[in-house]
């Protein structure tokens, strides 16, 4: 590739002049010319990144600035390094921060302009529903809560999300599970009068502590837990409770006590318990008689701890009928009064179910409906009308149109064409993004009427969907994965103050917090410094917040001086970024870079001993900071760790489970760090301040994650102009959450797709 004239001239000796002009221009608040911008590369970058040295396998002098679009992948990487402060490396000359900003802005604008001329919305892989989407779809289709973990194998995630098409593989194991699940769920929903007794065991959450009242349990009780259980029929059931307490056991159904079981004995039994079909909340708890404290110690094989270990539901026994359940009300839009009405009624029922399940209008003459009617007829021939519907429902739940997100492609388009997806497909894209589920009647109706593509209608639908309780999926699926909150369930801190109740509370705080930003449509920058959070008594004690009593989570105001403001002060994140027995400033720093700043640090160079933190002699009274000083001693470590470590140091006042501490190993905590750009970070407030200064970078990082999640594919360099455009537009609306969502919904990759050539296999795009 020939070098472009501008840069060649720079090498010819005019570079110094060009830079001088650039600096002058900048000082005069005049936008630097393109030539002045490109001269920046020569002055600050190409000393190493040239064709001869090829530092980092990068030769900027080989690139043609007039064809930036062709090298978008490289330029995006350059932008990320510059924005992240990683380049130029420490010790090398750097332009001033403002000049750098102008230059990066120039690179971005150039790429964005080029992209507008030839937009590429990408090609989503044919994607199946993931486990969460399957469960939500079943919930919305037939009003049945689904314990999906016992039904389907787990999904692999990539890029931090488990809804990415390229990772959602289809194994025989999965297909077999679909078939089994459809048989089970269709029987549960319709009601199977011949259902055999089933035994379901619910175990206490890990490390669950039973000393205190648990939110939602009857007053005067302690410990225990509640579950949502689907009772298959109106019938008798037997409940067996395995307790480790001398206190009486309270059993409640939908919040009302149904049995009080005498103490003594490690197991208690309630039978018969008559329950109507459908989902009910079952709770077990202990009557508070003694203020027994104690954790159910994993190691204490024979220790008398104070909790309820598990309880088991048996049934149905002596069933009296299928009952009147939400599922049946939802499915049976009609009941045949006589044989002549059966077929029309079955048609009506299945037409409705198929329309919802396949996310498209299904007409009376649709072959998909004929297939379902065949199954209905076979079931009806062997049994009742209900049995016919159940068989058809079982068939529907394994239909490829239900399992896959199939999108229509207009006939006759040449390969490489970019086309708008149909309104009906757009409806599904919307609902899986915002609800992790299928569209509802209103959304599907708007799509079927061809209204959805109208920007005003689309915007209104998005606002409606965000206000729907189903949008909670953006918390439980998106935010939980973005912030890696699932790891909170897996950590094993070696700290006597940690137990299952704290584990649950930590996660709940962050979920409620994110949920409030979503439901109140706040600026996403509030995630960094909101003046409130959510705590119960357990968490309040952990945080040292006074006067919070009881097990109910409530919103508390935080003064400006509170270290608990924003995500950085939340125990969930501080715990999941710690080692079991100590903090890890490196993990915390990386977490901030990856998830809040979107500029992950490079991997350590090859053949470097990275076990530094562990190699300090055990038991020696050194602080983590002292041990990490070793990073500075070795230049190959220092390059990245001078970026990572200070971010983590700023959080050193939080211990490994997010509690506040003023000393570590007998010395006062030093929560000071100098960020790579020279700014001083003092404690969590300093780090919060840094992130607020870089709010655009934060919003962009969040937008990248949200767009990845929305599209179900990892982002490519050609997506970055879209990301920047969404962020710029949202800025006008103070980065409200809905502004990001509306920006994503309105974007090219959300509304369009590209047609691939027939022979072209879907390539793994490796960056």
């Amino acid at each position: 590739m020939p070098r472009v004239a501008l840069v060649s001239i720079g090498v010819g000796g005019i570079a110094a002049l060009a830079v001088a002009v650039a600096v002058y221009a900048y000082q005069q608040h005049r936008a630097p010319s393109a030539a002045e911008q490109w001269a920046m590369l020569d002055r600050y970058c190409e000393g190493c990144h040239n064709d001869a040295e090829r530092a980092g396998e990068l030769a900027l002098d080989r690139l043609d600035p007039s064809r930036m679009h062709a090298d978008a992948a490289v330029w995006e990487k350059v932008i990320r390094k510059l924005r992240g402060g990683l380049m130029p490396p420490p010790g090398e000359p750097r332009p001033g921060a403002e000049r750098l900003e102008v230059f990066v802005g120039f690179l971005e604008d150039s790429l964005d302009t080029a992209a507008r001329a030839a937009p590429n919305p990408g090609v989503p892989a044919l994607r199946r529903l993931n486990r969460t989407e399957y469960a939500n779809a079943v919930r919305d289709l037939i009003e049945l809560p689904v314990d999906v973990e016992a039904l389907l194998p787990g999904d692999d995630s990539v890029g931090g999300f488990d809804n990415i098409g390229s990772a959602l593989s289809i194994s025989p194991t999965l297909l077999q599970a679909y078939v089994s699940a459809s048989a089970t769920l269709s029987r549960l929903a319709v009601g199977d009068p011949s259902a055999s007794p089933t035994l379901t065991t619910y175990r206490a959450p890990r490390d669950w502590q039973s000393g205190n009242h648990i939110d939602g349990q009857p007053l005067g009780t302690r410990g225990g837990y509640q579950v949502r259980h689907v009772f298959p029929l109106d019938a008798e059931y037997e409940i067996r409770i395995s307790a480790r307490s001398e206190d009486d056991v309270d059993l409640s159904l939908d919040g009302k006590r149904v049995a009080l079981l005498p103490s003594k004995g490690r197991n208690a039994r309630v039978a018969p318990l008559v329950v109507t079909a459908g989902a009910h909340t079952l709770g077990v708890a202990l009557i508070r008689r003694h203020d027994t404290e104690g954790v159910d110690d994993l190691f204490a094989v024979h220790a008398e701890s104070s909790g309820i270990a598990s309880f088991t539901v048996n049934g149905p026994l002596h069933a009296t009928g299928t009952g009147d359940t939400p599922s049946r009300r939802r499915i049976f839009s009609c009941f045949p009064a006589g044989p002549a009405e059966e077929t029309p009624c079955a048609t009506e029922i299945l037409e409705g179910l198929a329309t919802h399940a396949y996310r498209r209008p299904v007409a009376a003459d649709d072959p998909a409906l004929a297939t379902l009617m065949d199954f209905y007829a076979a079931g009806r021939a062997e049994g009742s009308f209900d049995a016919g519907i159940q068989r058809a429902l079982a068939r529907l739940l394994v239909d490829p149109e239900f399992i896959f997100r199939i999108e229509d492609e207009p006939a006759g388009l040449p390969a490489g064409s970019v086309y708008r997806v149909s309104d009906v497909d757009l409806a599904s894209r919307l609902s899986f993004f915002l609800w992790s589920s299928i569209p509802d009647d209103a959304l599907l109706a708007a799509a079927a009427a061809g209204e959805l593509r109208k920007p005003a209608v689309l915007e209104r639908e998005v606002q409606r969907m965000l206000a729907d309780p189903k949008a909670e999926a953006l918390v439980t699926s998106f935010a939980v994965q973005w912030l890696q909150l699932r790891m909170v369930d897996a950590v094993s801190p070696e700290n006597p103050k940690f137990d299952g109740n704290l584990r649950t509370a930590l996660r709940k705080e962050t979920e409620l917090f994110f949920s409030s930003v979503l439901s109140e449509d706040r600026s996403v920058t509030d995630l960094l410094d909101a003046d409130y959070t959510f705590v119960d008594e357990r968490l309040a004690r952990h945080y040292g917040l006074p006067n919070i009593r009881g097990s109910r989570f409530r919103r508390v105001e935080l003064p400006p001086s509170s270290p608990r403001r924003g995500l950085l002060g939340q125990g969930s994140l501080l715990t999941l970024t710690s080692a079991p027995n100590r903090t890890s400033p490196v993990k915390r720093g990386q977490w901030v870079l990856n998830n809040l700043l979107g500029s992950p640090a490079p991997q350590p160079p090859a053949n470097v001993e990275t076990n530094l933190e562990e190699t300090a002699p055990a038991g020696e009274a050194t602080t983590m900071r002292e041990r990490l000083q070793q990073h500075q001693a070795n230049p190959s470590c220092a390059m990245c760790h001078s970026l990572i470590d200070p971010l983590g140091f700023a959080l050193e006042n939080f211990d490994s489970i997010g509690g506040w501490r003023d000393t570590e190993a007998g010395q006062p905590v030093n929560a000071h760090g100098t960020f790579i750009d020279g700014s001083e970070l003092d404690g969590v407030a300093g780090l919060r301040g840094l992130l607020l200064e870089r709010r655009v970078q934060f919003v962009q990082a969040l937008t990248e994650k949200l767009l990845t999640y929305a599209l179900g594919r990892t982002l490519e360099p050609y997506d970055m102009p879209v990301v920047r455009s969404i962020v710029r537009t949202a800025a006008k609306d103070d980065y409200r959450f809905s502004a990001l969502v509306q920006g994503i919904v309105a974007s090219e990759p959300m509304q369009f797709r590209m047609k691939l050539a027939d022979e072209q296999p879907q390539q793994a795009r490796v960056d």
Binding site: S169, S171, T173, T201, P205, D374, E401, A618, Q762
Partner: protein
Amino acid sequence: MFITKKHLSRRTLLRGAGAAIALPLLDSMIPARTALAQTAAMPKTRLGGIYIPHGVTMDKWTPAKTGKGFELTEILSPLAPVRDQICVITGLTHAPVAPWAGEDSGGANNHNRAGAVFLSGAHPVKGNRAVCGPSIDQIAAARIGQDTPIPSIELALEQGGLNCDSGNTCAYINTLAWKSATLPLPMEHNPQVAFERLFGLGVTESERAVRRTEASSVLDSVLGQSAKLQGALPASDRRVFTDYLEEVREVERRVVQVDHLMSSGVELPEPPVGVPDNLEEHANLMFDLQVLAWKTEITRISTFMYGRELSNTIFPNSGVRESWHLASHHSNDRKNMDQYAVLNTYHVKLLTSFLSKLRATPDGDGTLLDHAMILYGSSLSDGNQHNFSPLPVLLAGGAAGQLEGGRHLAFKEGTPMSNLLLAILHKVGAPVDSIGDSTGVLEI
């Protein structure tokens, strides 16, 4: 919280509260005419692959003496009762664990690849799509697994689906089993779900039979419809859909074969109850399932993962209170290394109990252990260093007369572990020319 379901007969319900606790599967098994009993003349080798993450304390694993006179080291000591059926193999290396140029710097990142390499010998390519290699269990499943109803079963102690290194697909860390380079198979940790995957859903065999009939008609219909649907798909989606149809056919074949096997009079114990609280009980149950699967020949191939790389699991009965990954980072401190060896020994003890059960189960002219070939080990050597040479691996079982036990085979350090994988395939009757980075068939 684990939520599990179990179908119980009336008889069991009346048995009392004890039923809420998982019965050891084998204890409740009724001696039965198995399919094998009818084909006793030709015992077929059962193939197992068992993975332990994070390596072991190598100097407490590796025997000093080679050949038949080798000594059982501390970690191997639980194997004493089955020593004559054990081949300890040392000196092997799994080079594909190393990063390719530009991927990452190795070291701790090796965790993200090690599990996927174990049975494939292939390099897990960094990227948003799984690209690794077929694993020996699946190569065997394709060649010799088709004459059993279920070609293979994939089991684990831990649930998948947690976060992992975001630069890779989590498949690399979630599973050992690769049907092809691009198709990882999920591993099941819930013994009850695993039981249902093998034998089907239902309280009684007659209920299971009804479910199978329904499944057949559903699958048949899906196949017919999908062929039509495929033509209307965007070209880019067609290939995925072709793979899907192939799997539908495979599941249909399984249903027919299970039906066939069950009609031959196999008697099954009642399904286990969910996931036991106690990890040791859980591990034993997963092993019992493999014994049951192999005994009934519903499948002859299984893989089992004690833990994913980077596992935080604590094994309370091991006496080691640290989580697994943390314990592996012993910092070259002798005390910590010894402590890690205690955990390693515990894991071998669990293995031994599995092997003993296999030995106690008659199979044709011998025992299931005589007819088994089980590879146990890790793709990492010293978890503290994340190196992959020399690997701690051993083979157990007589491989139906193909493998002589009671030996320590020491190979030149750097010998590809893939050569052992190749040797295993040759001994189970699924010979291929090469796998992963193999350079030849290891002489074992």
